[in-house]
């Protein structure tokens, strides 16, 4: 049952290794190469996240390259105990490669090395073909347009070291899959209307068969085969509509739905009812006071049809949200950087992994985490950030055991300092 078969992964990985070599060379010889700088803390539409990056171009070659890295140090205390003490974390290094193949045909890709290169993943690798601004074809490994963070996840854009909890555990960013679809934009006055719609491979049974003991779209997104085949043999649908007004900002509505279980054997024998997982997300972002204050928020709700006879630590509904408020407090020439900025911000976030009540007692189920994250960030240039965060979180279900009964939540305080930069 392999209806959707795409195997770009290996080709792209080889291609990237070659490009990396050229890139390293490029960094030395600056006469040939031209850097296209942009302030990445500013943003067009969220869906433009994949193009709106600083790239390095080579003379007249139709290829542009770039990337970013993230690293940080962390000290975390849970209920008086620091399990790991001081930890230095090299989160990830990512490489972009973009090329104009011909008029209105482009290739774009990102490959990510996580955990010091242990995990290599093609985040996206697709071809775009523009027939009309309103009608573009995209095929390959695409970022599923659900919420805003997923398509706009590059570290240097954020003043917060950790990715939002709800954007990694409720919406499992980075969520990308092999598939194709269409997108387009329509401009009118100060308005932009945009849509995106894709059919891709989707999740697998890991949503419920996992070692976390709770419903997890992220666990259903781990299968290395996901670029080769769809677990259910049915495509996942993702669609998004976004509206942007120059003054008021961008508002997006997105939806994703997929049959995630193996309901049919390869021989066509139906062995189980189809089970679906769906996500509905709203996002909004704006900047105010001459770009001195920015607000970014995303909320998502998940519905998962569970197999019958599933233990009550697995929820059939989940939700989560975050809001980031970041203000520029000083914008000045500092230490020779003309537009250096100090920013302060705060993130409020939560995720609930099991909405509902116990059928046995009628009592509510508690399976949430919430956090508040004050941040201070220094941006010497738009594409580089030094950031300092404090994270205070309360979690009702302690890792390892699912304390979903509502016992005293576990409190954690984390101090983090990190850097992230495009290169």
């Amino acid at each position: 049952m392999k209806i959707f078969i795409f195997n770009y992964k290996k080709i792209v990985a080889v291609f990237f290794s070659a490009c990396f070599a050229i890139y390293c060379h490029a960094q030395k010889d600056s006469s040939l190469f031209k850097r296209i700088e942009i302030d990445t803390s500013k943003q067009k539409l969220n869906m433009d996240g994949v193009y709106n990056k600083p790239f390095l171009t080579m003379g007249k070659m139709p290829v542009a390259m770039g990337g970013y890295m993230e690293a940080n140090t962390q000290y975390s205390v849970t209920q008086g105990i620091s399990a790991d003490g001081f930890a230095f974390q090299f989160q990830r290094v990512s490489m972009f490669l973009e090329s104009s193949i011909a008029k209105n045909i482009k290739f774009n890709s990102e490959i990510e090395y996580e955990n010091g290169g242990e995990d290599i993943e093609v985040e996206y690798a697709f071809m775009d073909m523009e027939f009309n601004p309103l009608f573009n074809f995209r095929g390959g490994i695409v970022l599923n347009p659900i919420g805003s963070f997923n398509e706009n996840h590059d570290g240097p854009r954020w003043d917060f070291i950790d990715r939002p909890i709800s954007s990694t555990t409720i919406i499992p960013s980075t969520l990308s899959n092999a598939g194709f679809g269409f997108y387009g934009k329509y401009y009118y006055d100060n308005w932009i209307f945009a849509y995106e719609t894709y059919l891709t491979n989707g999740f697998d049974d890991g949503i419920v068969s996992n070692a976390d003991g709770q419903t997890s779209l992220a666990d259903g997104n781990q299968n290395p085969d996901k670029f080769d085949k769809s677990n259910s043999g049915l495509p996942m649908f993702t669609g998004k509509i976004a509206i942007r007004q120059r003054k008021y900002g961008e508002f997006g509505i997105s939806y994703l739905t997929d049959v995630y279980n193996e309901w049919k054997t390869d021989d066509g024998l139906i062995i189980a009812p189809k089970l679906s997982a769906s996500v509905f997300a709203l996002d909004y972002s704006t900047s105010l006071l001459n770009d001195r204050l920015s607000i970014t928020t995303e909320a998502a709700k998940v519905w998962v049809q569970l197999p019958p006879n599933t233990v009550n630590t697995y929820g059939s509904q989940q939700d989560g949200a975050f809001i980031d408020i970041v203000g520029t407090v000083i914008k000045h020439k500092m230490f020779g950087w003309n537009n250096a900025k100090w920013e302060v911000g705060v993130r409020l976030e939560y995720a609930n992994y099991n909405i509902g009540s116990f059928s046995e007692t009628g009592g509510p189920i508690y399976d949430y985490i919430w956090a508040i994250v004050p941040a201070i960030a220094f941006r010497p240039v738009g594409s580089t950030v030094l950031r300092f965060n404090y994270v205070y979180s309360e979690q009702s279900d302690e890792a390892g055991g699912n304390f979903i009964l509502g016992n005293t939540p576990v409190k954690t305080g984390t101090m983090e300092f990190g850097i992230s930069t495009y290169f």
């Binding site: 008086g80 003991g213 189980a272 006879n309 007692t361 009592g363 300092f388 390892g400 055991g401 016992n407």
Partner: protein, 409 residues
């Protein structure tokens, strides 16, 4: 770019890191000791024993999946999900024990996957339903697993010393057939080939090892080990292991770590024991005769290798004997020589910490039906009727003193 300026920035950053680090308030402190759940180990263990304890701790909260051998039918996916934080469980994770009672005979319907219902199933498989010929069922909530090593170290003679009619009650031991892998201690005295059970709500398991092996198979469900290779399956569906893991699913070592963990969990400390209401309550608890069954003090025997469990004075508030608790608490399901209306005296140590693991509420007795201490006492009938009457004859202030005492345990 001036190097000096970079140093300035670095100094500022490092300085703020240090100040904020110093500000301990930003890091949540450990909960006050009286608020702790029963996490912690008994003193006097060797480094090897401590390491085994730590391994067992991890295993106790391990989430089992098909890949770890769970299923195909099961109750829950982790010991910790029922024995939350080592404390008492909630009716939300209760297990159902069933069977068929006809006159004086009882069949626990092993051929239909008895004695416990395994209602959950791995994906693609169907969970157990109550077989149509089952006519009795009882709900059981998980007891605390603290201080179990001390119970394991009690001599049979110590338990028997309180048995049979005295002071108006008549506790009886539950003599059960030992499992094939049971290795008796010097203090285990067989009677017609049977041994005194002490673990479980009807004192059906003789040793912690028995309980662990049973729990892997029935409370989790379908996890096989060297001591028990039986895979339960839904008899309505047919045999199917539901996993591709070779049996045994866990090693003998895995079982032993869990046993070590259970043996070496400490007893929770008492709280407010000098409070005047608590002291008055303790006195009343003795005066009205609750202590006939909820025996405050016992001395353990010798458990080789565990000096800190051996010859220790403990305060479990139980006699580890079965009592007729009357028809209201009759669950209809007997076990071994324990009748359906007989229950092991619930050890009351740690009972005041129950809300910490029961979601802030209180669920008492074998099925969690009582949601307050007073309610739990009102279900004391049968042998305990006279004590209940004595409790009800107290003034409400005195009753509250007993409640304060129970809360301090």
């Amino acid at each position: 770019m001036k190097i000096k300026q970079i140093y300035k920035v670095l100094t500022v950053v490092i300085f703020s890191v240090i100040t904020l680090e110093a500000c301990q308030k930003l890091f949540p402190a450990a909960p006050a000791p009286d608020n702790t759940l029963a996490v912690g180990v008994i003193p006097g263990l060797t480094p090897a024993q401590l390491q085994e304890h730590a391994l067992g701790d991890d295993e106790f909260s391990q989430i089992f999946t098909q890949q770890q051998g769970l299923g195909p039918v099961f109750n829950n996916i982790s010991c910790n999900n029922c024995h939350v934080g080592n404390g008492k469980g909630s009716p939300a994770t209760a297990l159902t024990r069933f069977g068929r009672a006809t006159g004086r005979t009882f069949d626990s319907l092993v051929s239909e996957n008895g004695p416990d219902l395994l209602p959950n199933a791995v994906p693609g498989y169907t969970g157990d339903v109550l077989p149509p010929d089952a006519n009795v069922q009882v709900q059981l909530i998980a007891p605390t697993i603290m201080g179990l090593g001390f119970i394991a170290a009690l001599a049979d003679s110590t338990i028997l010393a309180n048995a049979y009619p005295h002071d108006g009650v008549a506790g009886v031991p539950n003599y059960v057939n030992p499992t094939s892998f049971f290795i008796p201690q010097a203090f285990n005295i067989p009677f017609n080939g049977q041994y005194i059970g002490r673990f479980g709500r009807k004192a059906t398991r003789v040793s912690l090892q028995d309980q662990v092996v049973f729990a892997l198979a029935n409370d989790l469900g379908g996890v096989t080990c060297d001591y028990n290779m039986v895979k339960p399956y839904n008899y309505l569906v047919g045999p199917y292991t539901g996993n591709y893991v070779q049996d045994p699913d866990v090693s003998a070592g895995f079982v032993n770590h869990l046993v070590m963990y259970l043996l070496t969990n400490k007893v929770p400390p008492r709280r407010d024991s000098a409070n005047s209401d608590v002291l008055a309550g303790a006195q009343l608890f003795t005066n009205i005769g609750c202590v006939t069954c909820h025996i405050p003090t016992m001395v353990t025997s010798t458990l080789p290798g565990f000096p800190s469990l051996s010859n220790q004075t403990i305060h479990p508030f139980s006699d580890f004997l079965l009592h007729d608790m009357g028809s209201e608490l009759d669950g209809g399901v007997p076990e071994g020589s324990a009748q359906s209306f007989q229950w092991r005296t619930a050890p009351l140590w740690g009972v005041g910490l129950s809300p910490n693991s029961q979601g802030g509420g209180l669920f008492l007795l074998h099925d969690g039906r009582a949601t307050s201490f007073i309610q739990a006492i009102q279900f004391h009938n049968g042998e305990a009727s006279a004590r209940k009457a004595a409790f009800n004859a107290l003034t409400s202030q005195q009753q509250q003193q007993i409640v304060a005492f129970l809360n301090s345990l």
